[in-house]
């Protein structure tokens, strides 16, 4: 039963009445992560559907951020972090030897909890990624890419007349949208978001959620969130983590309205977390 619960529609076979079959963009099998001797993730099997928003929920310390950071190998820079198992994107294990980590991180972008624009101009913030990956052949190309990214992130109109202003001078919500634009500028396939709205006010949060809805389809989005209402609002699929394991995963609808596991039921009802 557990294996079935952890399989998404489309990864094995679409359940009756589900959305048209989607393919799995990211496939995690047998992922075990420990920091030193402390286990953080235990036997995690998870699929992430392409072109959809997947939410990772769970109480603090359950390993959802650790899992997220495994998807673009950001845990490589953490001392004493040991990762076992297979995480495959488009069928290819990203932890295989010989994988170009920098290229991977361009394909799998990340937006962090606290907005962290570089202390440079708005232009330099967004242009940095394309510059180092050689995505724009000329200044005109770079400008076009820059405008497209900002427009996609819903920020172009607000800042188009002050592109040389420092990125750190924007409001919190604008900074986070700038970080999203920065991530989009390198043309990723997946965007990872680690509690992107937890440092923002409700209006800015609403803007970001609209943005996520608009981006879904073109990008595969995985979002870690503490806010269950947000998970219910933005995501199509949800995975519930508890003490380093994936307890339950499936359609957001099912997880929130018809949870199969008792722990899931308790968490979404707000009894702990």
């Amino acid at each position: 039963m557990a294996a079935l619960e952890q399989t998404f529609a489309g990864a094995v076979a679409p359940p009756p009445g589900a959305m048209p079959a989607t393919t799995a963009k990211i496939e995690a099998r047998g992922v075990n992560v420990r920091y030193g001797d402390k286990p953080a993730l235990i036997d995690v099997d998870l699929f992430v559907a392409a072109g959809r928003v997947t939410a990772l929920i769970g109480p603090s310390g359950c390993g959802k951020t650790t899992f997220l950071r495994c998807l673009n190998r950001m845990n490589d820079v953490v001392d004493d972090c040991h990762i076992e198992g297979v995480i495959a994107i488009d069928g290819r294990d990203i932890y295989a030897p010989g994988v170009d980590v920098e290229l991977l991180r361009a394909r799998v972008g990340m937006v962090f909890q606290k907005p962290n624009p570089f202390p440079k101009s708005i232009y330099d913030n967004v242009a940095y990624g394309p510059r180092i990956h050689g995505l724009a052949r000329s200044r005109a190309d770079l400008d076009a890419l820059f405008e497209a990214s900002l427009a996609r992130a819903g920020l172009w109109d607000e800042v188009k007349d002050r592109l040389d202003a420092p990125g750190t001078g924007l409001s919190g919500g604008q900074q986070q949208r700038l970080c999203i634009a920065r991530a989009i500028a390198v043309d990723p396939e997946v965007i990872l978001m680690d509690e992107p709205c937890s440092a923002l006010d409700p209006i800015a949060t609403a803007h970001i959620e609209e943005l996520i809805a608009a981006l879904s389809g073109a990008y595969t989005i995985v979002i870690v969130t503490h806010n269950m209402q947000q998970a219910a609002r933005v995501s199509r699929y949800t995975a519930f983590f508890h003490m380093g394991r994936v307890v339950e995963a499936g359609d957001t609808e099912d997880i929130f309205n018809r949870p199969a596991d008792a722990r899931t039921r308790d968490y979404v009802a707000g009894r702990f977390g």
């Binding site: 950001m74 180092i132 970080c179």
Partner: protein, 411 residues
Amino acid sequence: MTENTATENTGATRRLARRRAAERRFRLYGMAAVGAALALLALILGGIAADGVSAFRQAEVRLPVTFEAAAVDGGDYGVLIKRALKSLFPEVRGRKAKRALYALASQGAARELRRMLLADPDIEDTTREVWLPASDDVDMFVKGEASGRIKADQATWIAALADDGRIEQRFNARFFTAGDSREPELAGILGATVGSLLTLVITFAVAFPLGVGAAVYLEEFAPRNRLTDLIEVSINNLAAVPSIVFGLFGLAVFLNLGGLPRSAPLVGGLVLALMTLPTVVIAGRAALGAVPGSIREAALGLGASRARAVAHHVLPLAMPGVLTGAIIGMARALGETAPLLMIGMVAFVVDIPTGPGDAATALPVQIFLWADAPERAFVERAAAAILVLLAFLAAMNLAAVVLRRRWERRF
């Protein structure tokens, strides 16, 4: 009920008053400590200034010099000075008396006449009123330092010259334009200053790149293990090693083993670079560590390699802290004497050095040599040189503060 509150209130007021008094006392202790420190500082600086300020003025004597061609051809310009003095005091007879008279002018005065003639050949065979440096004994006498070296007859002549307006204390430009000399009235700090400057340039050129590189590697790339811990402890210890040990090292390795030129700013710079290196590394690591990790994560998340993230984002943000650390290290190096003594920059060097390979001396060493000299005038000049050195140090530290303020950025 009311009685209880009454006693409670007086108890509370008493405690409050005691607490206020204690706070006042604490503040007073602090202010007293600051006051004592400032008083000591004022005492030291005041003492040095009192000794040294007089060195910025130098007694000069105005003599009517006839640039006679015949005497000049012999190459001995001193004859002209003797004749000028004789013309002012024709009544002086006897070898001893005449020697005393001629001793009023500095031995370097003759050289000045030669310089004047070479610069302007037209003055040949004319008589001009020329200001020439007086000897250091006259200088000290005029400044009120009676040392017993001025005899009674000399004193009368000096008084006569003064009445005539022929002896004055004028600005001692020679102090800033001349190198060291055996005669105090001709000695200046230019040689030592240039030597110090060349030494500091070498020190910066060696210590800064090596120090920043080491700091970047240790802070950003090195794994945290026993070896890097050992390195960190060693660097911290090196920063506390007495500077003379670096001088001994320089003597043994650079001079004896390496055969580099003795007394040269090149070797002095290398020795001081070794001494400053730990400071630069420690300041560099602190500055790099102060850059928030979110910046690194943002860069890495975009697919920048570790090296790119550091070079494009972390290092530019850390640069203000690194540079201020380097400037403070340089200021310390400027004032170091012991290591330079060990590598031989203690020689009596007259010429102004033209390159890092020439023999030179440094400002603190020059002060050390002058303070040791028997002539009174040198003691005064040592104090003046200390004032100049302190001015340089203050300027460097001020620059460090100003630059840090200007470059400080909010993350």
